[in-house]
């Protein structure tokens, strides 16, 4: 059972990621081009004639064949250049560099909150299945899954910012300039997204813990006289940690997607707002850049999850 070195594992996984990146960005590019309407109309301005729009297409190379346009974009990416917004001329890397930390902070806060609330809920529900605690947890979890994030977000703004004035209603602050202000701004959007995550963690954890606790070796542990808490913390949770890591990695990906709506509600200039603006204006370098970033984040999250799973469970082969 010779295990491959982690370095080689990471290397080969990253290599496998390349086709995924190309395929994902190509599909998004194709979708953008299939939808009628292009950035030339916006670029040409309010009074534009057909001739002017055609001229703009030519100036910006939008009249070149589809594959050539994609190829040019990809070629630049290989050289480390995400090109620039067709509309405003800002470097896409600059836009992403500014937007990404805002989104990341929300996702991190949401994840921490989801775990802080979800893990204890899952554990206490699993200890006495079908007891009233379990039922209460199930109900809260169902609510968490059922309540739309944007609705919760608006309720939070109305109550916590506008009425109680505890936290700011809109915008984001830079974490590097003022960490406390940044966290205050990201708190409400974080909570709005965390509700779903909490429910997911609690339900999944309860399910997998129940399975472990009803297995034969746990019965043996009981027979040996171990206390419930030792069984739970030393054996139970260790065995469900693989499931937990997987849930977390899925959650991160889902939460990234959820920021698109929540950022609109809180007027947070993050990746979600950026890709919405890019898509509406057909500013494809922006959309491509954000998709590219998201794909890389998702691949990295999955990779880290796999490595962590392998670290706690030697049976998992890379």
């Amino acid at each position: 059972m010779a295990r491959r070195s982690p370095v080689r594992v990471v290397g080969s996984r990253l290599l496998q990621a390349l086709p995924v990146i190309v395929l994902a960005t190509f599909m998004v590019f194709a979708l953008l081009k299939l939808v009628p309407g292009d950035v030339a109309v916006t670029l040409a301005g309010d009074n534009a004639s057909d001739a002017r729009i055609a001229e703009i297409r030519h100036i910006y190379g939008l009249d070149r064949p589809f594959l050539v346009q994609y190829g040019v974009w990809l070629g630049k990416v290989v050289q480390g250049d995400l090109s620039q917004s067709l509309l405003t001329g800002e470097q896409v890397a600059t836009s992403i560099g500014r937007a990404f930390p805002n989104t990341l902070l929300i996702v991190v806060i949401a994840l921490i909150l989801a775990l802080l609330a979800g893990i204890p809920m899952g554990v206490i529900a699993a200890i006495k299945p079908n007891g009233w605690v379990d039922k209460a947890v199930s109900m809260i979890a169902s609510l968490g899954v059922a309540i739309p994030g944007f609705w919760l977000a608006m309720i939070l703004v109305a109550e916590i910012s506008l009425r109680l004035n505890w936290l700011p209603a809109t915008g984001a602050k830079s974490f590097t300039v003022s960490p406390i202000e940044a966290i205050r701004h990201a708190m409400l959007p974080g909570i709005a997204i965390a509700a779903y995550g909490m429910a997911e963690v609690a339900r999944q954890l309860r399910g997998s813990l129940l399975e472990v606790l009803s297995s034969q070796y746990v019965r043996t542990l009981h027979a040996k006289g171990l206390s419930m808490s030792r069984i739970l913390w030393q054996h139970g949770l260790k065995n469900v940690s693989v499931n937990l890591f997987t849930i977390v990695s899925l959650l991160v990906n889902r939460m990234l997607a959820a920021t698109v709506v929540v950022e609109a509600v809180f007027a947070i200039p993050g990746l979600g707002s950026l890709i919405v603006r890019g898509a509406i204006q057909r500013d494809f370098p922006i959309v491509q850049g954000v998709v590219f970033t998201m794909v890389i984040v998702v691949i990295l999250v999955n990779l880290i999850t796999d490595l962590l799973c392998a670290a706690v469970d030697p049976r998992i082969e890379q």
């Binding site: 109309v41 405003t88 937007a99």
Partner: protein
């Protein structure tokens, strides 16, 4: 401290003598104060901060702070008035002479003289990246006829030019900055001669400008600077004002008024604008190729009811493309299409659609648009027209309707006003205009009347020409105007001196902040 006490005293006095007629409202006595940062929630990221290369009508709200125009307009009527050009004169129908104000400099110190004006006008007219070439199509050449005087030689009489120079084409950019700029545009590093100088622009996030200490208008601007937070979701933007994170938000939809009226810390200002919600018709294809159907369509719409139901009453019913307050408004045209479903049915029958008619229209999918569509569908149904809307995002729907696809017979959208009405009419109602979706011909007398409206400087003659234009457009029913939406601006109570304008693109000339 004394300042505060004085204002409090004024407030108290005015409250005490409420009901007693005095010379004017007490708040008018409070002298404008310098200082403070005006924080504005803006609904859209600008397309560019270079007036020549940008495209969106929403850019002006930023551009006007950094760029001054050669000509300005009156807030209430949009009549032209001096700007960077202290006077202008048509010495003959083909020659326009502009006298430039002395002592004005751009933000980078470059003097604003006749050479700078010539440079700008020629760039706007000829530069490959310029989006406003068409605005200056009548200008044959620009000559420097004195250190502070330029003479525009025109290829045809064009009295719309002064007001054209109050818009993008008249925004003066520092020639030195343009020459030094990469790619020849100042899209991301604007240098103008306006009240504020540019500090920074983070796309989709924030634009910051600060007071131009050498601004030519005395004592202006009052605030130290403006910070625009770009918040596309208007409900969120309005919340940022009620929560006190921003001071002012413009371009609000009417439905926000009822919500904001309940917030005691916020005041709401509104006024008429040229922004008209209308249905563009494609009169090159059935059923709107038949003038009787177009007229029936116009008779079938109850505009008063539309304004009440769809716009919370915050609009003026539109029977043509100019609102009542405009200097070229013609009252007699407004009576052409009273709400008359029976007349509509009769016209349809004459057109051969006795049993009614199905009409496919294109629209936008946002909440306000869909609500408007529902009201229109019901109104038109009563007149025997079975209307269906196919909705798509603005860029897609607009391109599908106006460009080559020619989807649908009409588009429910809006026309943002132009400073000079001749632009509005020539951009929609001449044969090859982009906003004439079918590129179909119009009656020769209409084209002639549009030309006529640009031939004379005399305001009475122009008014007469526009009366003909408006009558011909509406008699032919080339469009179904619905309502002029009011400009709706909400601000917290320390913002003073804001006035709405008829163009509907906010200017902050006299705004100041109470501390």
């Amino acid at each position: 401290m004394t300042e505060m006490t004085r204002r409090e005293a004024i407030a108290l006095t005015s409250a005490a003598i409420a009901g007693v007629t005095i010379g004017g409202p007490a708040w008018a006595e409070a002298a404008p104060k310098r200082g403070g940062t005006l924080r504005i929630s803006a609904p859209a990221n600008p397309s560019s901060l270079d007036p020549a290369t940008g495209g969106a009508g929403s850019d002006h709200a930023f551009l006007f702070t950094m760029y001054d125009t050669l000509i300005e307009w009156d807030f209430e009527t949009l009549a032209p008035k001096p700007g960077l050009a202290e006077s202008w004169k048509f010495t003959d129908p083909n020659t326009l002479v502009l006298d430039i104000r002395t002592g004005v400099t751009f933000h980078d110190g470059t003097p604003l003289d006749a050479e700078a004006v010539k440079f700008n006008l020629e760039r706007n007219k000829t530069d490959q990246k310029s989006n406003i070439k068409a605005d200056l199509v009548s200008v044959a050449s620009v000559e420097v006829s004195g250190p502070m005087q330029v003479t525009l030689k025109l290829s045809a009489p064009d009295t719309a030019l002064p007001l054209i120079l109050s818009d993008r084409a008249g925004m003066m950019v520092s020639p030195a900055a343009l020459k030094a700029a990469e790619g020849g545009t100042v899209a991301r590093k604007p240098v103008g001669a306006g009240a504020y100088t540019f500090i920074s622009w983070a796309d989709g996030e924030r634009i910051v400008v600060k007071r131009n200490e050498k601004y030519w208008k005395p004592n202006r601007p009052y605030p130290d600077g403006i910070e625009f937070a770009i918040i596309p979701e208007l409900t969120t933007g309005a919340r940022s004002v009620t929560a006190g994170q921003n001071d002012l938000i413009y371009q609000l939809p009417p439905r926000q008024k009822a919500i904001l009226d309940r917030v005691s810390s916020v005041k709401v200002v509104h006024g008429p604008t040229l922004y008209v919600i209308q249905i563009f018709l494609n009169w090159a294809k059935p059923p709107f190729d038949n003038p009787k159907v177009r007229q029936a369509f116009n008779f079938a719409i109850d505009r008063e009811a539309f304004v009440k139901a769809a716009l919370a009453g915050l609009a003026e019913p539109a029977y043509m493309n100019l609102p009542k307050a405009h200097w070229a408004y013609d009252k007699s045209v407004a009576g052409l299409y009273p709400y008359d479903p029976d007349k509509a049915r009769k016209l349809l029958a004459e057109a051969g659609f006795k049993d009614g008619l199905a009409i496919d229209l294109v629209g936008y999918p946002d909440q306000d648009s869909v609500q408007r569509q529902e009201i229109l569908i019901e109104q038109l149904r009563k007149a025997g027209m079975n209307v269906r809307f196919a909705n798509a995002p603005i860029a897609e729907a607009s391109a599908a309707f106006f460009a080559s696809e020619k989807r649908g017979s009409g588009l429910l959208a809006a026309w943002t006003g132009r400073p000079d009405p001749s632009l509005t009419y020539s951009l929609m109602f001449t044969k090859d205009a982009y906003f004439n979706a079918g590129r179909a011909p119009v009656p020769p007398e209409l084209e002639a009347a549009i030309k006529e409206s640009r031939a004379s400087e005399d305001i009475e003659l122009r008014r007469k020409a526009f009366a003909t234009v408006q009558r011909l457009v509406m008699e032919n029913a080339f469009v179904a105007p619905l309502a002029f939406q009011y400009e709706l601006v909400a601000m917290n109570k320390k913002v003073q001196g804001y006035r709405p304008n008829l163009l509907g693109k906010p200017k902050y000339d006299d705004v100041w902040l109470e501390s």
